[in-house]
Amino acid sequence: MAVLQYREALNQAMCEEMLRDENVFLMGEEVGQYQGAYKVSQGMLEKFGEKRVIDTPIAESGFAGLGIGAALMGLRPIVEFMTWNFSAVAFDQILNNSTKIRYMSGGQFTLPMVFRGGNGAAHMLGAQHSQAMDSLYAHLPGHIVTCPATPYDAKGLLKAAIRDDNPVCFMESEVLYGTKGEVPDGEYLIPLGKADIKRPGKDVTIIVWGKALFTVLEAANRLAEMGIEAEVLDLRTVRPMDKQAIFTSVSKTNRAVVVQEGWPVAGLGAEIACLIQETIFDELDAPVMRVTNEDVPMPYNKHMEKRVLPDVARIVEAVKKVTYS
């Protein structure tokens, strides 16, 4: 067991898979010579050479399409977006190509590729660079969307994503790259589509994914001081969602709060709340609550940014509501 940074866990995952399968290669802005915009691909150009670690121009649509083409030809590209905000430029490639080719070709082509990059807000990056894109991409059928929060989850899920024959949107966070966690030494994979109970509890289920996990865990500690034991369910993958884990947990606690870093309207929080009340209505003691970003573009100002994001206070308030405390 080693303690690794999230970025190191990703690095290991990519290196191991590239050693294991020569078809796997990495491309994106600054991934090679610059050692990665966030140093995720540190040392990889040296290790694997120019043919397998490719610096691209600032042309997301172009290199996303390039990746799709490579995948069509049987390669296994890892396409890095510096952040998922910039995937907007490549949206047509994802919406109309990567999620559709397998279906429209009647299965003649699979696209074994990974799009990865940092997602959501960081610190004072402003409206255009703080967007959480997970809800948008999870809306599209035809690919997998996963958002690991810990180094352990990141390595296991990235390896699984690279080996999966479907296109996978792998969403990290600039804020998480430096966080540390235990990662086993040997080979391991984490199945895509499986949630994980990060903290067991009995009074309420808090459903979360991605970096909001840490805010939720802090809120859970605060709640424990008030005598409320929260069960924290980390979805890890948001498409496909581990519905059974959600239903099992909420049936146990009878109350659910979804914490989503992102805009509320038609977001994943809404989807989860709907699933719960549709399927296990009779287990509910209270309506399902969501704690999301405020429905605004992200402010640049430090304090306003904090105010927009889901914080411990708002999560605690929501839990108190559903537990009538």
Binding site: N254, Q277, F281, D282, E283, L284, D285, A286, P287, V288, K321, Y324
Partner: protein, 411 residues
């Protein structure tokens, strides 16, 4: 959207108001600030204005009838709009209703589970307007149904009085606390073979044999003395009163052989040998091992045999030939403190002797009151084969044997 307008607080001390006069009728359009009624408050008659613009769809408050603060007084909306839920039947004094304003039925009294939506405010139903509507969370509703709890007896602690899980948990605890801590329910024990057999045989005996009972109190002093003597002289023999009684009964049967019979449809079966069945109490029933040819056995032999058979009976090792074939039964409950009792005949036998306890009692002997050991015997007889006189004759012989045991040596 059609909505209720509520009785406003026109003075700071007002708790209810009375519409003195409506200044509008159904179908009129009103604009904010327009006076629509005169309201009598606790202080004075004051004008009431409309707060919104719209068409008056229904006048709810009747002139002269008090309405509490916040109570609905009229409905405002767009022309022809459906009245909101909770609208009562149209007030009798209101202006003619347009055809579209058919009264919504009064709120049903059934408890309705509230849909889990984002709003937690209560629906806009004023107090006193409709029958009580229950707000119950889905899980609370289910728990209450499972536990048999009437939701109308539960106070909801959630918003707007919503009954929630913890309210039902509390109600269940209260219910359990009231119920006795230990539920005295009956349990069912499986029938053992013995119990089944006893039940079957004795039910048959009781229903088929016409029983009658002869009681006789005998003097047991001599018998007691005999037992004492035997105890001193033959301590290892452990001869009991019952062993002596068995001997006496066997003797009496030889003297009155007409009692040593069995009823059969074909005829009365006369037994030549005297086999005495001795009732032995077991943990889960009783069994009657047989002392064969008891008339020819010494009391000591009888004592030994009865002890051995009883032990075998308790160990469930009695063979069928050891507990069948008796011609007469004796059952002794004296050691359990019973004064006297009636026993049920053991078919195919004709009689059974029920023996109580030996007790010192005052009796008259030669005109004097003296204390003697007395024993009550009750003889059950099968009236098909033994009549009263015959049974009495047997008891007489038995009494003689008990009261003068040495006679058995001679006669």
């Amino acid at each position: 959207m059609a909505h209720f307008a509520q009785m406003p607080k026109l003075t700071d001390t007002m708790e209810e108001g009375v519409i003195v006069k409506w200044m509008v009728k159904v179908g009129d359009t009103v604009s904010p600030g327009q006076q629509i009624a005169e309201v009598e408050t606790d202080k004075a008659v004051m004008p009431m204005e409309a707060f919104d613009a719209g068409t008056v769809l229904q006048l709810i408050a009747q002139e002269g009838k008090p309405v509490p603060l916040g109570g609905p007084i009229y409905v405002l909306g767009a022309p022809g709009e459906k009245l909101p839920e909770g609208s009562p039947a149209p007030a009798a004094t209101a202006a003619p209703q347009p055809a579209a304003a058919s009264a919504s039925p009064a709120q049903s009294a059934e408890p309705k589970a509230e849909k889990p939506d984002a709003k937690t405010e209560p629906p806009a139903v004023a107090p006193g307007i409709s029958a009580k509507r229950l707000l119950v969370s889905p899980i609370a509703g289910r728990m209450a149904a499972d536990a048999g709890i009437d939701l109308y007896t539960v106070t909801g602690s959630g918003p707007a009085g919503r009954i929630i899980k913890r309210d039902i948990e509390a109600a269940i605890q209260k219910k359990d606390a009231k119920a006795p801590a230990v539920s005295k329910a009956s349990t069912l024990k499986d029938l053992t073979m013995m119990r089944k057999t006893v039940a079957k045989r004795l039910s048959k005996a009781w229903s088929e044999i016409p029983h009658f009972f002869l009681e006789r109190e005998v003097d047991a002093t001599a018998m007691r003395q005999l037992q004492k003597t035997l105890k001193e002289e033959l301590p290892d023999a452990h001869i009991s009163l019952n062993d002596i009684l068995i001997k006496c009964s066997a003797y009496a049967l030889t003297k009155v052989p007409d009692c040593n019979v069995s009823w059969t449809e074909a005829g009365i079966e006369q037994h030549e040998a005297v086999h005495v069945s001795v009732a032995v109490a077991l943990e889960d029933g009783l069994i009657t091992p047989v002392v064969r040819n008891a008339d020819g056995k010494t009391v000591m032999a009888i004592a030994q045999e009865v002890r051995a058979l009883a032990q075998k009976a308790k160990e469930r090792r009695l063979q069928p030939e050891e507990y069948s074939g008796g011609t007469f039964s004796i059952s002794n409950l004296g050691m359990f403190g019973i004064d006297k009792f009636t026993a049920i005949i053991n078919p195919p036998e004709a009689m059974i002797l029920a023996v109580g306890k030996v007790e010192p009692k005052p009796v008259v002997v030669d005109g004097q009151v003296v204390v003697r050991d007395r024993l009550c015997l009750t003889l059950s007889c099968d009236h098909r084969v033994v009549d009263g006189a015959l049974g009495a004759k047997f008891l007489a012989e038995l009494t003689q044997a008990i009261e003068h045991p040495l006679r058995m040596l001679v006669v």
